[in-house]
Symmetry: C2
Subunit: 564 residues, 2 copies
């Protein structure tokens, strides 16, 4: 028997090939094999919706290096010195013998593959609600190249006029945009009260509004009850409330579960989340077996809880760590996630990092929070608005989370917030952060810094904030709030709340204080487009003795409801 | 005498109005006055080059709020409750009497203004080399609205065909682009060996190349010797080496010095940098006097040294701190700078944060460093390249600095690096950072993370890097290096070094090892477009026994010289 170390990787999508490549680079002697059930390797699965929607049209781009070389078995052999076997399904793991029982899907032959170190990167499997009609033709998840090819073909044929997307998560929303862009009328059906659960309701609602303005229909709080067919083909969808939607294409995007069937059969520990349990070295309960990617659970860094974090970037990072540790022994630690994510939705972007208020409070952390709106550049550079919600720990001021949506440069905002959270920065740290500024890139004071400033003001009592959702609830409940819009008449003309508000432009406010309620205890709610002038107004009014003056956070830009 | 606190601010550009506004918000009772020598207030001076170059054409945009209201004295009175007096020059400070001796430039009258707390925000004054002819008409700095109006007029008139910009710093380069965009042939003259001194030579050179490809002429290592005139008008410039350039417009952008004349006369402490000395509360050597903006020196956070950091964003942040402390006593600390900056140069961006190798070594810190090149998005999303240089402390791995240039999304890169430095993150932390990823925004592995990975590889000996500048120097010195390009023939055809390199595509390398030098000790330098394949090649070659294999960092994308 040779002394060459045999490293075997199950799974050839993101984490698997990365693990194999890293192991190869660190151990030129090892015998490294990837076993992949699918026909392709290293698929850029995050790119599927963009190929379907026609953002690019060369299918090979999903499978090739930036230099245009397809990452097939020959590529892995010649370039990486790795044996990559596609259409090879692993049927079971014999941990005692350190062997895998495999089936060659091309030849139908069974065979046995031995390993010294094994890396499991089996990804996830789509969750398919087993409702009646789910096997009609025209219904597909979006998980594989095969699914991608199917949806692209449907778009290219231009025969489908109406489609439903079941599930308003990341994949559902990206797919809905892709289909809608090719001229298909898309209806998104989401069981929960909102789309994009990584966002809070109010921010998700602004994205929902933007999708609707691009023609997508969105139905929340409703799920699929049955697919309807004509013969063997899909002709419609019936929802749980009885609504029927005519459609000949349905994409099922109701989430995915860690693919741990093999691991479970091999008696490897599975966590409460349903993901494979691994330690900080990404080692499973068997020291000879590592795991990486969507099939594992990982540590949420802020609370220390275990979570599923099926993100493409983390799969790559975990693959690198697992590959290194499999090759050299436990050297690299994977420190966990802060759940950073982002997506593009037509002309808006939506991103999040760290904890929401709900998630933090669930973990027993008291929070302070703020919503601001602001442009991504100065007005003279045609800055585009963004709404930012920031969450900090009440006791320490440590930043816990941040969400950002809008047409502006959300990517920079979320990236810098992710780094701030990773570095344990506080509101005070952010308030004087030194970020790169020039007019083509940001306002003089970056929105993240502004959010910290406003949060400081709230904490020190210089500003009392009220959320748009609280305002709406109280107005809907018939409360008599004094709503004060301090924009110009021209701005008001173009767009307003229409809830019986009073308009006094900020510049005239000091002279028109007589128009405010006589009762100095009456609650007054100030706002403007982004509530910066609203804040100025509140300070002026408070300076004149009114005692219950609030600023509606984020102003009209962050108002998630219809405008008057 | 009233008990109302009198807060007086000298200077009405960025830091001054911010300080006044902050003081007002925190102390509704105070009597707050801004004394401004110029006719305008709150000018968006960072926007001057964009107005000059026609990016926008409404002059008012430089002086107004995002809602379009001009920030004049009436605005400050009505909206902010602040007395803002323009064309009012402060001639001297009487610290004992706590009075200012002022001159009303409209009426010519002298007057005295008393203060309880004073905030000095006098900005900077342009350094004008006193060479012969410097008073000819057609020569201007770019410092004021008046200068801006003058340059915009020159562009609009379309009479100037040739201009020189003296100084290749931030303002010089932004102005050069602005003028060139309006059809003027611009020559930038820089005394130092490179433009944009916040960048290292190699990265600055790629920006220089990009400017040249946009038609700007750039002369480095040469200064202005004399302006030449026809009558009273500029007709040319003679450089220190005797070169003469025909031009009818010259912009002097040779830097600015803190404007500390008033403070110096009042015997306030001035630092070695020439900036006003302040403590962490931005308090000068007189406890009743605060200072903020370009006139002060501040702490460079990493080394603790004192620096000038004349950035618009810091001026605003400092103004906020000084205003708060003047109003409420010393509450807020300004923690200093990490020298983050960015600029747009035609279709490229250039940014920097933290320390360069030179600056770190000067402070006695040993460093490790790396240059990488990579796209800002996956290839199928038309990712645009960027070159990133990262500097870390050798002993601890703590990130010290980062520079980034190229057509890609440099802004996000520098912003996240700035936050990483602020949080004290190390290479190990960055190697598994959790950043927001989706194909429209970044590659699966963000460039900053890739830089950390490559630095890990260098530190652990998995990769030996060599800089493009070292390669060039050694080739120029006639050394016989084995240069190995591992791209495809088609890529080679389109662009190559042309230094006698050998081309073996990576995919063929394992079969063509016979073409490598027989001597296994011979130095082999591998590279490709970005040197990712170059790194793979080096690992393969080392795996076959060659002992001195290096990767040219950043590949052809980071090569700052002409290509063959």
């Amino acid at each position: 028997m040779s002394n060459t170390k045999r490293i075997v990787v199950i799974g050839g999508s993101a984490a698997g090939p990365k693990a194999a490549a890293r192991a190869r680079r660190l151990d030129p002697e090892a015998d490294i094999t990837i076993l992949q059930k699918d026909p392709d390797l290293s698929m850029a699965s995050c790119g599927y919706p963009y190929y379907i929607g026609g953002v690019f049209s060369d299918r090979k781009d999903l499978l090739s290096t930036p230099a245009g070389v397809v990452r097939n078995a020959e590529f892995f052999h010649n370039v990486k010195g790795i044996t990559a076997r596609t259409k090879t399904e692993v049927l079971s793991i014999d941990r005692a013998a350190r062997t895998l029982h495999c089936k060659n899907l091309k030849s139908g032959q069974d065979e046995t593959v031995g390993y010294d170190k094994l890396i499991i990167a089996t990804g996830s499997v789509p969750r398919i609600p087993p409702v009646s009609g789910h096997d009609l033709s025209g219904i597909t998840p979006l998980k594989s190249m095969e699914d991608t090819d199917y949806l692209r073909k449907k778009c290219d044929e231009r025969k489908v006029t109406d489609a439903v997307v079941i599930g308003g998560g990341l994949i559902g929303i990206e797919t809905a945009e892709a289909l809608q862009r090719t001229g298909i009328q898309v209806t998104v059906v989401e069981l929960l009260p909102q789309i994009l659960m990584f966002l809070d309701w109010d921010l998700a609602k602004t994205i929902e509004n933007h999708m609707k303005s691009n023609g997508v229909r969105i139905i929340t709080g409703n799920g699929i009850a049955a697919y309807l067919g004509e013969g063997e083909s899909l002709s419609g969808a019936r929802l749980q409330d009885g609504t029927e939607i005519s459609c000949t294409l349905a994409v099922v995007a109701t989430g995915a579960a860690p693919n741990v069937a093999l691991a479970r059969e091999a008696d490897l520990a599975i966590g409460e989340t349903g993901g494979l349990e691994v330690n900080e070295y990404l080692q499973t309960s068997d020291p000879d077996i590592y795991a990486a990617g969507d099939c594992i659970e990982t540590t949420e860094r802020i609370t220390g809880g275990r979570v599923l974090a099926p993100y493409g970037d983390l799969a790559n990072l975990q693959g690198r760590v697992a590959g290194e540790n499999a090759a050299l022994g436990n050297k690299q630690v994977f420190p966990g996630t802060i759940l950073s994510g982002i997506c593009k939705v037509f002309d808006h972007s939506a991103g999040s990092t760290g904890l929401s208020v709900a998630r933090a409070e669930k973990a027993g952390i008291s929070t302070v929070t703020v919503v601001i709106a602001g442009p991504d550049k100065p007005h003279f550079m045609e800055g585009r608005p963004m709404v930012t919600k920031m969450v900090a720990e009440a006791e320490t001021g440590r930043i816990l989370g941040m969400q950002c949506v809008g047409p502006g440069d959300v990517s920079r905002q979320v990236a810098e917030a992710a780094m701030a959270i990773r570095g344990g920065l506080t509101i005070t740290d952010l308030a004087n952060a030194d970020l790169p500024y020039a007019p083509p890139f940001s306002p003089a004071i970056d929105n993240l810094i502004t959010a910290a400033h406003v949060l400081q003001n709230k904490i020190h009592g210089a500003m009392k904030g009220i959320s748009s959702t609280e305002v709406k609830e109280r107005l809907d409940a018939g409360e008599d709030l004094f709503m004060l819009d301090v924009r110009s008449p021209a701005e008001y003309e173009a767009m307003c709340l229409g809830v019986g508000e009073t308009l006094i432009p900020l510049g005239a406010l000091r002279k028109r204080l007589g128009e405010l309620p006589e009762d100095k205890k009456k609650e007054i709610i100030c706002y403007c487009k982004i509530s910066l002038r609203g804040y100025e107004a509140a300070r002026i009014i408070e300076g004149h003795g009114w005692e219950n003056v609030k600023v509606m956070e984020g102003g009209l830009v962050a108002w998630p409801y219809e405008l008057g």
